[in-house]
């Protein structure tokens, strides 16, 4: 009996081909991920806008807060929120997605925007240093907000947009501030 026609050889060949295909597919996927990782700050997470439960068995999209710099939109990591819509559906809690740090220049003024029809009554913008300690907090009232980093380094910007007492969303942005 020839080796090629032996039943065990056929079985091994199939397994070998399957493993080879899996390895090739995995390596390709990793390569694509590495190439695209340079621009992930402008790419939102897979489920976007973040979906949250309204507490009544329905899923509603969470309002978005974005940072806009020179036409490029940066997305943050959603955090605490409380949200009610016009028909009284309510949702609240905290979700924690992931975000990639993006680069901004020190003293560069950037815009903080939202995707809702009406502007928030108030923003709460808290800047944290690389030790996780707040260094600056401001609360612009209404409209789109503007901010600028005055110190270089790794920063977290925690931005809350508040439409009412129990209607707000919070996003966290990781920023590498260049001198």
């Amino acid at each position: 009996m020839k080796l090629e026609t032996h039943p065990s050889f056929k079985w091994f060949r199939r397994v070998y081909i399957a493993i080879t295909l899996i390895v090739v597919a995995s390596v390709s996927a990793c390569g694509v991920a590495r190439v695209t990782s340079h621009v992930t700050s402008a790419i939102p997470p897979t489920t976007w806008p973040p979906q949250v439960s309204n507490g009544q068995g329905k899923i509603i999209p969470l309002p978005l807060i974005q940072i806009e710099v020179n036409g490029v939109v940066h997305y943050g990591r959603p955090g605490e929120y409380s949200w009610s819509n016009s028909v009284g559906d309510k949702g609240g809690g905290a979700i924690y997605g992931s975000s990639t740090a993006f680069v901004l220049q020190k003293d560069q003024i950037f815009k903080i925007t939202h995707n809702q029809q009406t502007d928030p009554i108030s923003w709460i913008i808290v800047e944290f240093d690389d030790q996780g300690i707040p260094v600056t907090a401001i609360s612009p009232q209404s409209g789109n907000a503007f901010y600028t980093f005055v110190t270089a380094g790794n920063r977290i910007l925690k931005i809350t947009a508040q439409w009412a007492r129990d209607k707000y969303v919070t996003y966290h942005f990781s920023v590498q501030v260049m001198p």
């Binding site: 605490e80 409380s82 609240g92 809690g93 905290a94 009554i121 108030s122 709460i124 913008i125 808290v126 944290f128 030790q131 996780g132 300690i133 707040p134 260094v135 600056t136 907090a137 401001i138 609360s139 009232q141 809350t160 508040q162 009412a164 007492r165 129990d166 919070t170």
Partner: protein, 168 residues
Amino acid sequence: MKNAKFILLAVLFFFVVSGCGVIQNTPTPWPPQVPDGQGGIISLPVIQLAANNIVVTGTKGKFLLTTANSLVGGASEWPPFYPEPVPAKSLDVRIRQGAMISHDQPTDPVVWLVTEYNLQGVVTTAMVLPRGQNAYNFLIEGERFIGIRAYWTRDQYVTYFFSVKVKP
């Protein structure tokens, strides 16, 4: 036999009612006690606000504590920044008069994060006070709430909420 059951039920009822009464009359522990994550209890740092020789303690809000063994003490995650329940005792201050913030720990926090709200629960002011600056000036008249969070490290902070009447 029937009488014995009745007596037993009556005795049980008496103990339940007495127990409830004792629980109701037990004062809330102060400083607030929180689980240390190891089955024990630790005391939460206290923040107070003072003006015109009146000192008030606030309502405990969100906190995070890491003990000497690097264990997270506990966190009350909700509500994130608005007091529930609203502090009962209000502090009278004059506009632009500094209210003094104090704490009961051996070392000062590195910063205070102060958030001021109107009666509708909307944030009107947020600011960071650096170490050593313990006075907060109210710039808007009327009834306000403020949340004061003391940071010792990123993993060690406590928040208290205060009710304030700002007068001209």
